[in-house]
């Protein structure tokens, strides 16, 4: 009896937590599906739309280049992920496996960057980005590169990959050397294939981080055609000032891709094995 009561208690709390977690989205979806004939401020509020319509979705899709924002976000996230994978593993390899002068200093210098919050240094980063002509007023390509470069490598990624390399037995390299591999072949053909799980973790969490990034793009972007999804969605508020049906519909469209990605990759997020992988 006591066990059953405990079970009911557990489930009630978890159901409540789940509802609270998704309710803001549900309410947004509900609003986005309400037609002009229905008061969205009705008291008492109505969750199931009475004047059900997809008109708001069509309307916002036709007026706002959501597909363009999506493509921009994809370009930036893909570029950020690829560069992080390459640069982090390149830098991690000597830190894990080689002896060289200045290794300790390099190690602590990289570690130190973890303590520097981007928010505190964003102003000089912006000034440097402009100096390097990596801004959308120069060209679209420059704009994309400017969005990517400050996040193209992270100390987090380097340490993640370093730890992965440290876990590989030294015999692997010894065998490769006997077979006549040079250092680049060892890195590319022997070691890199063995750290694929860590590369996957790094890719997924870098992708999520880049996809949600809002501060940097809202600082550097000047052209609407280069807006990423978070910037574009925030901009909906200004465009449709009090048209909450459109704002809601646009917001919901914008989160569909990342929700699909999350559901497909859920084991990386909720298995409990990659705890702390997302940057806080």
């Amino acid at each position: 009896m006591k066990k059953i009561l405990a079970k009911i208690g557990t489930h009630s709390v978890l159901i409540l937590a789940s509802i609270l977690s998704i309710f803001p989205f549900l309410w947004l979806i509900s609003t986005s599906l309400k037609g002009a004939g229905e008061n969205i401020f009705a008291y008492p509020p109505v969750l199931i739309p009475q004047d059900f319509t997809f008109e708001n979705y069509v309307g916002v899709w036709n007026r706002v280049n959501l597909l363009g924002y999506f493509i921009n976000s994809m370009i930036v996230a893909a570029g950020t992920v690829i560069l992080n994978l390459i640069l982090s593993s390149l830098a991690a390899y000597p830190l894990a496996r080689m002896e060289f002068r200045g290794k300790k200093i390099t190690f602590f210098a990289i570690l130190a960057t973890i303590m520097i919050p981007f928010q505190a240094i964003m102003l000089p980063v912006y000034l440097i980005t402009i100096k390097l002509h990596l801004i959308d007023t120069v060209s679209n390509a420059a704009g994309y590169i400017g969005l990517i470069m400050p996040f193209a490598v992270s100390a987090f990624g380097i340490f993640l990959m370093r730890q992965a390399f440290l876990g590989i037995p030294r015999e692997m390299e010894e065998a490769a050397i006997v077979d006549g591999c040079n250092v680049f072949q060892i890195f590319w053909r022997v070691l890199l294939p063995m750290v694929k799980p860590s590369l996957a973790v790094l890719a997924i969490f870098t992708f999520i981080g880049s996809w949600g990034e809002f501060l940097w793009p809202s600082i550097v972007l000047t052209k609407e055609s280069l807006y990423t999804l978070p910037v574009g969605v925030n901009n909906l508020q200004g465009m449709f000032s009090s048209n909450w049906r459109f704002i809601a519909a646009g917001s919901i469209i914008s989160i569909i891709p990342i929700i699909i990605f999350f559901l497909a990759m859920q084991k990386y997020f909720i298995s409990g094995e990659n705890e702390g992988a997302v940057k806080g």
Binding site: T10, I247, S254, G272
Partner: protein, 290 residues
Amino acid sequence: MFKYYGKYVPYLFLLPAGLLLVVFFFIPFFQTIILSFQDYTYDIYNATYVGLQNYIELFKNPIFYKVLLNTFIYLVVAVPILAIIPLFLAILLNQQIRGITLYKILIYLPVIVSIVVAAIAFKWLYAEQGILNYLAQSLGFSSIGWLTDPKWAIYSVIIVTIWKGIGYYMMIYLAALMSVPKELYEACDIDGANFLTKHLNVTVPYIMPTIALIVTISSISAMKVFAEIYVMTKGGPLDSSKTIVYYIYERAFENLDLGYASAMAVVLLIIVMVFSLINILCFERNKYQL
């Protein structure tokens, strides 16, 4: 093992990442400090060294203290809640029960979704004639200016930050809970301990390092809050929800007051670096294999 690589090979591998870290971390870090001793207000292209003037102005400005106070409120409210509620949920999820994956997915969902959409969703809940005010009225309260009343605005924004963080910290706790030996609980069950005493006496002491880790990382992220405020209140009303990062953004990119903004940024740097140092030295030694 003999050295199978040339003398310069390690540097070659480190070069690309090193170059980017220098250009986008180290140079900006030192430039922030330099900028904080300069004044750009008269000529944006030619700075003049003004010594501590930006800092003196900063410490004389009441908004600076308001901003620090707001950040402090953020810490005091958000951090304990983010240390406790996720732990409670993780304990509940650390059992053999039905629907566990679904619960995890739903509670983790806010972590994944863009903070901008989350802030918009809450703005809609907080609307003057919105659903939360309906709830307040039907419970017999008068309606609340969630984002328009200086008394409430900061708390309304904090709620969004908490809501978005719970799933993230819950997963960190869940990983830690998996390592608690089952035998410890069995002893409790024999003694007939209830839920609360069992977890206060066994779970909490055992996972204390994780709790401390979560306190420091949630503190660090609370000090870096920006998007929620930008989307929902723009720091208002009357600076009541303005935090450090939003203030830096406003002074740097809206008022083009580069020196003053940088002095503020140095303050942020110092606070965050202290917390990060504690975090790395005390709780994340394994992660970096120090």
